[in-house]
Amino acid sequence: MSEQIKMPQLGESVTEGTITKWLVQPGDRVDKYDPIADVTTDKVNAEVPSSFAGVIQELVAEEDETVQVGELICYIDTGEKREDSQNDDKQETAGETDQKEPEPKEEQSMKTRYSPAVMRLAQENDIDLTRLQGSGRGGRITRKDVENHIASAPAPEPEPKTEEPKEDPARYPTYRTKPPEEMEALSEDKEIPLTQMRKAIASNMVKSKEEIPHAWTMVEVDVSNIVAYRDRIKDEFKEKEGFSLTFMPFFMKAIVETLKEFPEVNSVWGGDKIIHKKDINISIAVAAEDSLYVPVIKNADEKSIKGLGKEVYSLAKKARLGQLKEDEMQGGTFTINNTGSFGSVQSMPIVNHPQAAILSIESIIKKPVVVQDDMVAIRSMVNLCLSLDHRILDGLICGRFLARIKEKLEAFQLDREHIY
């Protein structure tokens, strides 16, 4: 008796495998569970065991051929005489059905032959057609059957409600499983058609939120020294350089230096791999009235505080005027978001796909804090918030990363550091 051996399921999500080597040839005798072929899948390398004891008859799949799970790979002769007994069975049952079952058989022959109208109604109303009785010829479910079913079952809501959580309890809720809401503009509402920019922002955000498992952490940093330093030189700086010196480049400098020490954070998700980027290109989020631009400061590690400040100034200006070029918005490896500029003290930014993390700098606020163990002082404090792609990064590394930035910022020395 000839049996088929099929490509087994070698992992939960595996749908195909490549036969790298046949371990048997036609004519070989194998025992049950003997390995017959080496198979590589995108998850595992494994041996395919024989499902039967017998003699290999024919190899159907070739070496280096990729075969879908469940597809035939070879025939094996088990030497059993099952054929005969099966035939006997068949004859017996055939005789019985001839006598007993012609009527019901005929009645149901059209049971699963659905017309376009029936298919449409079933899809629109989420009806499981296998549960309906057909009144048409051969048991066919007619359009009217479905319409009657819809009319007679006015409350289909409780069913999906109880079934939905059962369906996939392990999954976190996603946009897909959210029940659809009808967004209808009432007469006094104003409809704003989506601009290309808005559409792009929306799709990027959804992609990022859907795909990336976000984690979030925050540190509080004492930046009193930087505040004092900047206050001291800002007027002179503006006069000399022609643009204002903000806090942004100070933070940026510390972050960029720290990224240099933590290449894991300066990385992107590459589908089947993580890519640590050599260049440190900082994306900065710039809000214009109706949109959000993320221009990129290339090779930020090669720039001084003044140089970074100048880049931020000119890119932000270009963004607001809508003059950014395509290449000025590409290639970012880490994003910094200056949410403090509009007074925020905490935020949970969405990671800029496919980067690994995004950091937001919140408002600098004067606060009473405990210093030197037992004294209270008024210090300039700022929160740094970090959202990270938990596929790429874990809490430990990010904690260290933030701690290092904090350390650098707090160690800023008025007389030692310089901005040029």
Binding site: A117, R143, K144
Partner: protein, 327 residues
């Protein structure tokens, strides 16, 4: 309101239009003192005289040609073809001239002629007196083809045809002439050309037909109603150009469509109706669109059993509706 036969409605419509507008006149073979071979023009000669009820020679091309010329000069001729079968000598005038006058003259000229012709079988007329010729013309833009099924529709549509600014072919089923009776208002009314009419609402099967077959469909539908099969019946009334919206709506209503015509099946205008349904109703269809039509043989036979076999009747329609309902 009076009960009239189908042909009485034809006569009444012509009489009313001739009274209303002296540009309306009738011409055809034996339409004068004889009153027409079926009696459609009976009494018109006496009322309106020989200048407005004109007997013509046996020359259909002349009947059409004279009518078209008069129409282009501002008259409103009603040309009677004694039998639709006899129209073929006039086809050149109708297709090449009447249908194209407006288009060819860039709207300067029109040809508002009405050509009346009795069509169809079931009267032992055989070859030259039984044909359905509508599908010879339902491919000619510029023409309108009206084929009413009830006396009420006959009067309203014939009056509309006379008033229409372009040529209209008005086909009357000759067996319906005295077979079909119905209420017809005495007052002046017209019905819109180009609009189909739902003759009966239903939910199981849609039957689309026109002319005498529509009557058979109604009879079958009424009989099946007692069995619990509910038919939705659409009367095309104007078979060219088709009222596509009404066809789509009616077909979508039940998803099971039966098209009935007495014409030979292949190439009948029901093929066009089926195409409209195919283009627009896929996701509402619950069964293959069915055509019930005459066999593809050269002509209506003379032998009574053969003629009966050819002709449409309520029993054939009933069986076809039931078959679809059970599908």
């Amino acid at each position: 309101m009076a009960v009239m036969t189908y042909i009485e409605a034809v006569t009444a419509a012509m009489r009313e239009e001739m009274t209303r507008d002296e540009k309306v006149f009738v011409l055809g073979e034996d339409v004068g003192a004889r009153g027409g071979v079926f009696g459609a023009t009976k009494g018109l000669f006496e009322t309106f005289g020989e200048e407005r009820v004109i007997d013509t020679p046996l020359a259909e091309s002349a009947i059409a040609g004279v009518g078209i010329g008069a129409a282009m000069y501002g008259m409103k001729p009603i040309a009677e073809m004694q039998f639709a079968d006899f129209m073929l000598p006039a086809v050149n005038q109708i297709i090449s001239e009447a249908a194209k006058t407006r288009y060819r003259s860039n709207n300067d000229w029109t040809s508002p002629i009405t050509v009346r012709a009795p069509y169809g079988g079931g009267v032992h007329g055989a070859l030259y007196h039984s044909q359905s010729v509508e599908s010879l013309f339902n491919h000619v833009p510029g023409l309108k083809i009206v084929m009413p099924s009830t006396p009420y529709d006959v009067k309203g549509l014939l009056k509309a045809a006379v008033r229409d600014p372009d040529p209209v072919l008005f086909f009357e089923h000759k067996r319906a002439y005295r077979l079909i009776k119905g209420d017809v208002p005495d007052h002046d009314y017209t019905l819109p050309i180009g609009k189909a009419d739902v003759k009966k609402e239903g939910t199981d099967v849609t039957v689309i037909s026109y002319g005498l077959c529509l009557q058979f469909a109604m009879q079958a539908a009424e009989k099946l109603e007692d069995e619990g099969i509910s038919s939705h019946v659409l009367d095309l009334r104007t078979v060219y150009p088709l009222d596509r919206e009404a066809v789509v709506e009616a077909a979508s209503k039940t998803g099971k469509v039966l098209l009935v015509t007495e014409d030979n099946k292949e190439g009948s205008l029901m093929g066009e109706v089926a195409a409209v349904i195919g283009e627009h109703c896929l996701f509402d269809l619950d069964a293959p669109v069915q055509r019930l039509a005459g066999p593809d043989v050269p002509s209506m036979p003379y032998a009574p059993p053969m003629e009966k076999h050819f002709m449409m009747n309520p029993e054939k329609v009933e069986a076809a509706i039931r078959d679809l309902a059970e599908f």
